[in-house]
Subunit: 304 residues, 2 copies
């Protein structure tokens, strides 16, 4: 079975397990759409579901997920540390295998059109699927979040959705739909409740303020755990892999007198990033994927 497209919807619900299960069920209700992974976080009050399949199945599942999210989630009652604009907040399509980013842009545009036409939830397009200048970065679109943009889309034309509106949906906000290469969502939790430390480290490591390349970072409190978090997206792990970020955040944390409690992946990670981290940790300069038994056997198996 070939799974040429991945989709990684981020929903503004991370506390009510029954609702998250309902969102997952909507995705799994489409034949040929396969849920690969699910992560929920209570402090973020957010869930990330990773699924994959043939383009048409993924498209249908994405629209059903958007519909279910709009039914179940009312942003007027949503609180969480992670910024959000929609019940289904972000909907990226990711190429796998031989699929191209352009294929995913086309899919994102079709998904966006259906979400507005069928659900009356306005849509912004981001990253490779952006259609307005300045809208490629997700964080630019989301500035102000649900509460702020709800006010601004009427008065400020530059804030209006790409499809639909100009008002946001009264409970479901808007969906930010995009196409992007694989990224690694990676969080490092610090053994302190001092939010300023996480915010300072996030600022120090993120690309936009002169930190590491291909890193987006925010500092969040994790009230339920009495910790703070440096929450990151690594947009090109070949440039900045997780182990490099871990080393840098550890160094900055130590300089601030705190330690790393643990780290966590949100969603899936490419195998190569795992191998890069292993080789670095054990100073294995000659390590190659072909040294892994299972990889070696699988490549033999597919060669014959």
């Amino acid at each position: 079975m070939n799974l040429p497209v991945e989709c990684v919807p981020n929903f503004s619900e991370g506390r009510d397990a029954a609702r998250v299960a309902a969102l997952e069920a909507a995705i799994a209700s489409v034949p040929g759409s396969y849920v690969l992974h699910r992560t929920s976080d209570a402090d973020h009050n957010r869930s990330v579901i990773t699924f994959a399949g043939e383009p048409e199945a993924v498209l249908e599942a994405a629209v059903r997920a958007a519909a279910r999210a709009a039914e179940l989630i009312d942003l007027n009652h949503h609180r969480g540390v992670h910024p959000r604009l929609g019940a289904l907040d972000v909907l990226p399509f990711v190429p796998l295998g031989d699929t191209t980013l352009a294929d995913c842009v086309a899919l994102a545009h079709r998904a966006g059109e259906r979400i507005w036409r069928e659900l009356r939830v306005p849509v912004y397009f981001y990253q490779a699927a952006a259609i307005r200048p300045g809208r490629a970065p997700l964080e630019k679109i989301r500035q102000g979040e649900f509460e702020g943009l709800r006010e601004n889309t009427l008065s400020d034309e530059t804030k209006r959705p790409d499809l639909g509106g100009p008002e946001l949906h009264p409970t479901a906000g808007a969906v930010i739909v995009g196409a992007r290469p694989i990224l690694i969502a990676y969080n490092i939790n610090l053994a302190t409740a001092d939010l300023s430390i996480a915010k300072n480290i996030a600022r120090a490591v993120r690309t936009s303020s002169g930190g590491l390349p291909c890193v987006k970072a925010l500092g969040f409190p994790l009230a339920s755990r009495g910790r703070v978090q440096v929450s990151m997206n690594l947009t090109d792990f070949n440039v900045t892999p997780p182990h490099v970020v871990y080393a840098e955040v550890s160094r900055l944390a130590a300089a601030a007198g705190v330690t790393v409690a643990e780290s966590e992946l949100i969603g899936l990670i490419p195998r190569k990033a795992v191998e890069m981290g292993f080789a670095n940790a054990l100073k294995l300069p000659d390590f190659a994927s072909s040294s892994v038994i299972e990889t070696c056997l699988a490549s033999r198996a597919s060669a014959k």
Copy 2:
């Protein structure tokens, strides 16, 4: 293509590339025998070739490799830091997939019988394939090496081969044939030429002198690199994985005032050991193989 048996012959030749290529060619000359990996070390003067296939193909390739090694390698002229008793020194059969260790014991015994009968090279059986009490540990059999055992097999009955002999083969010595689960051959090179440091660390980490469980270790000089090496076999990486050994050797090296220059794998490593090392390095307590995209997709692919 299914590859149910792995075989990892260790040859006493690691300097002459043409000879090593000839040994590899002998293995690859059998239809259904697939060479997966090859490592040669000049200081050890030793090569490890990993291959796999169906049992009958692997058996035939192992016998051809033993024959070629006996033709090409004369231990009277062999010098290297790694202990050795034969031209083809060690011949372990390793179960993959649904193959059992008992299957590999049977294969080892058949290989040993053919090596003695067809090549007149005597055979010792080790580990799961051992047939004499006290002969399970490879290092016990190899004690004295080619030069020592050549003298002793006549006078000391306890030193005699399990098949053939009592004299060793005059140039090819003897082959130590066995069956064992997967192990990880893992070396850590220290940025010093002081052999006593490597020997002391090897003694401190090896199981037989009270170190870490499931670890065999020796200290070697690497004259060509001006370094010393802690050379290890990790016989159960679920008990003691490479990253634990790396941390302990690094700690002992630091205590001796030296640093780890780099480490190296000889042959293949199971994917799980890579993932264990990555999760440890990045303090990822919840890391699971199912979080790796490729693993996740492959398990979906095979499920349908």
